[in-house]
Amino acid sequence: MSARTTTGGVPERQVPPTSVRGAAQRGVVARPGREAVEAKGWLRAHKWLLLRRTSQLGILALFLAGPWLGWWLVKGNLSSSLTLGVLPLTDPFLLAQQLAAGHWPYREALLGAGIVLAFYLLLGGRLFCAWVCPVNLVTDAAAWLRRRLGLKGGKAAAANTRYWLLGFVLLAAAATGSLAWEWVNPVSMFHRGLIFGFGLAWGIVGGIFLYDLLIAPRGWCGHLCPQGAFYALLGRAALVRVAADKRSACNDCMDCFAVCPEPQVIRPALKGVGQDHPLILDADCTTCGRCVDVCGKDVFRISTRFNRSES
């Protein structure tokens, strides 16, 4: 295969045949990441994905160990929980709605929301989306199937719809005096459903899967979800960032764009559009690390916002 390109550290600017661009030239369905598997081995080409799934499922397992096995390490759900009987954690997005609805909660909820807020402010707001949120499993599955089936196009809402929706969610809470969004919020509903029972909530989760698969690519997480928008706002000064620090090695295969849940964030860093450093500073980046995995040239790595060096 012509994918083996690294010879003596000098990268060839040859587009791999299975990559997005290579497949487009040949008119077949692309398999982004295949070149990386051949260059780095399967494990290293799925490192961040595996870590992320471990994190997502591990957190879910902590919540499920109680009701399933009777090991009550963590009680509650992502909306609010109590770990080992001492550590309260509360979703600051819910707290924001609650304050908008005019309710001042007890100290536990304030403290819990403060801890969560501090964590995501410091490390990266949308780490929640990529590493914790269970809906990510659903939308990732839809995106994967979309790629495998070669489904193109679709009609997504504008990417800033989520910020407007976030505003209206808080407005609706204030206007109705209740947590109006929580009647339909698929994020909290899916997690609660897994732990406490679904009822008809499967319908909402299935709806998101089909919406992402058939109507809008990355439609929910990337365009509509007001909870993701909330966490993106938290992550504007986040420490952990992805850097395209070996961007000189890029062979324009476009695989990173194909797997990225927020592809618009890559270009400024990778191609130096509007900025001179290789850091992805856009708060919409979920720091999922999938671009690191699928790049056969090891262009990307997880770094910090202070490291602007390029190698």
Partner: protein, 294 residues
């Protein structure tokens, strides 16, 4: 300037469009409109679905329903700390606001724990910690709703709802009445007193009827009428004042009962205004006998 560097590529891209500002306003309006519609839909659905079914009872200490729906984050910590698995979180389609805690008394009633763990578990105050005495809880109000099938109303001595009541002889008492059907027995009617009933639902759970129970815990709003503030209860006013507020009442004679004490209207056969020869009419042949005996 750095700012200029950032702005330039975009400005170049938009140079071909007639009016970037107009396009931005148009985009923003459509996006905001769409998002607004979605939020409006969610809000209206929320208002419409917020009515609680009559058999769903909130945990002890729950705020009034409107405030509760602003305060409850649907975390389920109260459910986890309920030792009797009474509480559950509503699932979508249950008729109760999805994710909020409730219980159904006929299923599993509240056991009225003295330390009220569900209230202590709530991190937001949707369950109010000022409730420290479970006897003061007002989860609902028991109502003996079906007097046709209640065994005590049929003249039997079931008494189960009375016996299982954790606030026995206060929240439920047995009121003795004459049984007009047999004319020689008493009926002991379970009677709920709102002052003491906590709405725990033990009576509803205990009712021996095979399917639905004759006594049910209902939301207080459904179970209780509002007090007639304008109506002065003479006997209470008299007790409070130590005397009648309208002075002594004039005693008028009752024809045929002149020799009896005032207010005593009991008559023996042969006594009374009809004279000694009078006998009550007996049901004639072919007449309908209702079975009613005065």
């Amino acid at each position: 300037m750095v700012m200029n560097d950032k702005v330039q590529p975009r400005a170049r891209a938009e140079a071909s469009v007639p009016s970037p500002r107009r396009r931005f306003l148009k985009d923003a309006a459509s996006v905001a409109g769409g998002a607004g519609l979605l939020a409006l839909g969610a809000g209206m659905y929320a208002r419409q679905a917020s009515a609680l079914p009559a058999t769903a009872i909130r945990p002890p200490g729950a705020l009034a329903e409107d405030d509760f729906l602003a305060a409850c984050v649907r975390c389920g910590l109260c459910v986890r700390d309920c030792p009797y698995k009474t509480l559950k979180l509503a699932e979508l389609g249950d008729g109760v606001v999805t994710g909020t805690p409730y219980f159904e008394a006929r299923d599993i009633p509240c056991e009225m724990c003295e330390d009220i763990p569900c209230v202590l578990a709530c991190p937001t105050g949707a369950l109010d910690r000022s409730l420290t005495d479970i006897g003061k809880a007002k989860m609902g109000l028991a109502v003996l709703i079906d007097q046709e099938n209640c065994l005590n109303f049929l003249g039997l001595r079931c008494d189960v709802c009375y016996r299982v009541c954790p606030v026995i002889d206060k929240a439920i008492t047995l009121e003795r009445m004459h049984n007009p059907r047999s004319d020689r027995h008493a009926m002991l009617l379970p009677t709920v007193h709102s002052e003491y009933c906590t709405g725990c639902g033990k009576c509803e759970k205990g009712c021996v009827l095979p399917g639905e129970s004759a006594i049910k815990v209902l939301p207080i709003k459904l179970a209780q009428g509002s007090k007639a503030e304008h109506y002065l209860r003479g006997w209470e006013e008299k007790k409070a004042a130590g005397q009648s507020l309208i002075g002594d009442q004039v005693e008028l004679p009752v024809r045929g009962l002149e020799d009896k004490a005032y207010g005593d209207t009991r008559v023996k056969p042969g006594e009374g205004p009809q004279g000694p020869e009078y006998r009550p009419a007996s049901p004639g042949a072919g007449g309908l006998d209702s079975g009613w005996k005065p």
